[in-house]
Symmetry: C2
């Protein structure tokens, strides 16, 4: 395909999504839920077609030498379809976020003023291999009245196009514009670059994937972009910590699922308890397969640990590796977090309320916990009912983003001829 | 000054603002209010020094051939200082936005979860000639616990530096870091470009000024930017309008202050009432000095009006000029607004509730009014108590932005050892 034609084609797709977003903003929750229900149903009815498309992606991926892990992420089988359909039905059961009056007042001149929650409009999702995102993310966008443009990975294109046909049929059956979900029919960078310039048509970009992808998108995009660069999360074991609780939290935060963004990457231990805490904690971490890297003071207590440097304080291992640093007091812990963290999630373990509050107030992060595992920073754990991502930005949405964070608001004023005096 | 040295200097200023923002986030409202009060007091005490600096800017501006209007905007005399001090004292009287618990829940695992309002951090304000912005904007940033980096126009540099000394002294007197307000000591573009790349140090950019400035900043910035490109606001006179009310609203929206963003730029008249509405309304607009430009159907009723084209539908005149278009019904009005408007403020005049609600829901704009002048889209009119700007973006803040919109939130979880299962 020619580059010019290709850019034109994705521009038309985006324009169609913009037009569809106008209808979606005015649609009722029942129509949007009906589309989600039909899509869930079609995943079962069309499973053979979807599996065939996925098989073509898998074959091409194997031929291209994708790793076993990547092939695994690319697979979209009956079990995945059932899980995805169940997820869509959970989203259906969530309350409609739209139309909520967020604030209301009667102005002195009699104007009845409301802030009302409305959809953002058109959301461009950029993601990598997992095809389930094509269903999950579009489902959340539709539930919140937004049109979605989905740009998945090159390796999943056939599967994503098959899932796009599911969406088109489901939307049509519910009386909603099929263009409400647009699948970018190419993984060509030129097409993506064309989309990232359409700030008059697309309202929000959400890139999901590795830090490289997100930085590249954020740099190119003229459209507001919600970013999640990385999760360098900390647990700080304070001098007044219950050391048993601290050990359980540390092990859970590191080991329970090390490959995700809310797993702990650096453990900060107060100098006052380092002697008592380190030996047993390290034993348990090692038993769970964790490789330890420590500062000089850590290594005085545990000399077998390999030395940690600045690159470790900045590292998002996403693996069974843990950096450990001994610090002197809450202020030093907060300073380490603010200097080296990624503003994602931090936790202090202590029985001292004043120390806890100092830490909670001082850490400039989306989620701050007292006596709890960093792994709890999650849309479902927070009761949002869904999660489109976790923002480490401070604007618009911070931390786990659910349906409400896919919305904006408008000011609605109802008057009787009020003028400016 | 060498370019390398200059970039280094503004980077240091930004780093100092970042450090200051950590203290501000933990500061009490009384300290922040004390700084504002001291700054208001210093405007009177230091008026001679400030006027001398302003006189140097005015002389240089005259020498550089600035227009009378620009010279007027640049002037910062005793009267302006008194007004600015009064404005700061109004901000002091507003409630502290920080620490508010926006939502709270006890999770099934016992975690006590809160969303708490906190400052954004470091805000870069970019603006043009008016030196009062140096006091007003910094005052709002400080009140909301944010550090401010202020980059005013080249022509106001001496005045702004004098006002920066006022801030430094006021902050010091209140026990807050003087670096909480940083004046960029140069109008060199290289220095600004260096700042716009510091996405690890600056959290938010708010450019205020002409569309060209804002587009240039938005394009360069790697930092989230809140934009207000322009205000192409509409009034739609519906078939069921009270035509007297409609005329009063139209005249107010166009004439009361034509040079501001919430003034009406295009008048949409329903074909059903065009014959009855146009003659008297146009007479009154002309009497107020308004130049009219109309579509073909308008000119059939008022042939003396000069023809309007697409450039008029897109125009932000900011002047006593009005584009007029006859449309067929609410849907056509909404389509015109969404196609040509700037998503700022629109108003429908009608006695028909259903028509009004269709317009309010259909217009994709920050503020939508029923039977009220577009001029009412304003932070003070909305009861925000202050206004840092009006956003035509949909992310983070939409429409008038007050103190709460200068804040973000963090998730605070207090537990008793909760783990992820």
């Amino acid at each position: 395909m020619q580059i010019g034609k290709l850019s034109r084609e994705v521009r038309e797709l985006a324009q169609a999504a913009r037009a569809a977003s106008r209808s979606l903003a005015l649609s009722g929750a029942s129509a949007r839920n009906a589309a989600l229900e039909r899509a869930a149903g079609l995943l079962a009815e069309r499973s053979a077609e979807i599996e065939a498309a996925n098989a073509r992606d898998l074959a091409a991926g194997r031929e291209a030498g994708l790793s076993a892990a990547m092939i695994d992420r690319l697979r979209f089988d009956r079990r995945q379809m059932d899980k995805t359909a169940a997820g869509l039905r959970e989203v259906i059961a969530l309350p409609d976020p739209l139309g909520t009056v967020l604030a209301a007042s009667r102005r002195p001149n009699g104007l009845e003023l409301q802030r009302v929650r409305v959809p953002i409009g058109v959301i461009l999702m950029i993601y990598e291999s997992r095809p389930n995102v094509t269903m999950d993310a579009a489902g959340l966008c539709l539930k919140s009245g937004n049109a979605a443009i989905l740009r998945g990975g090159r390796e999943a294109l056939e599967t994503n196009l098959a899932l796009g046909r599911v969406w088109a049929e489901a939307l049509g059956a519910a009386g909603l514009p099929p263009a409400s979900v647009g699948i970018v029919p190419t993984a060509d960078r030129t097409a993506l670059d064309a989309l990232l310039e359409m700030d008059d048509v697309i309202d929000l970009v959400i890139p999901r994937g590795g830090e490289g992808l997100i930085r590249a998108v954020a740099e190119k995009s003229r459209i507001p972009t919600i970013k999640h660069y990385k999760g360098v999360c900390h647990v700080y074991v304070h001098a007044a910590a219950d050391l048993d609780m601290a050990r359980r939290i540390v092990v859970n935060a590191k080991v329970q699922r090390p490959g995700v963004c809310n797993a702990m990457e650096t453990l900060l231990i107060d100098a006052a308890v380092a002697d008592r805490f380190i030996p047993e904690c390290f034993r348990e971490l090692r038993a769970a397969g964790v490789e330890l890297r420590g500062c000089e003071r850590t290594r005085r207590i545990a000399p077998e640990v390999r030395p940690a440097g600045e690159e470790d304080w900045a590292a998002e291992y996403l693996d069974l590796i843990l950096a450990v640093r001994v610090v002197d007091g809450v202020q030093a812990a907060v300073e380490h977090v603010n200097a080296w963290g990624s503003r994602h999630t931090e936790s202090i373990v202590t029985a001292d309320r004043a120390a806890a509050e100092q830490f909670l107030a001082g850490c400039d992060s989306a989620c701050v916990f007292w006596n709890a595992s960093t792994r709890l920073a999650d849309g479902f754990e927070f009761g949002l009912g869904a999660e489109i991502g976790i923002s480490t930005d401070k604007l618009h949405a911070r931390g786990p983003m659910g349906l409400e964070e896919l919305c904006t608001y408008k000011w609605v004023g109802r008057g009787a001829g009020q003028l400016r005096g």
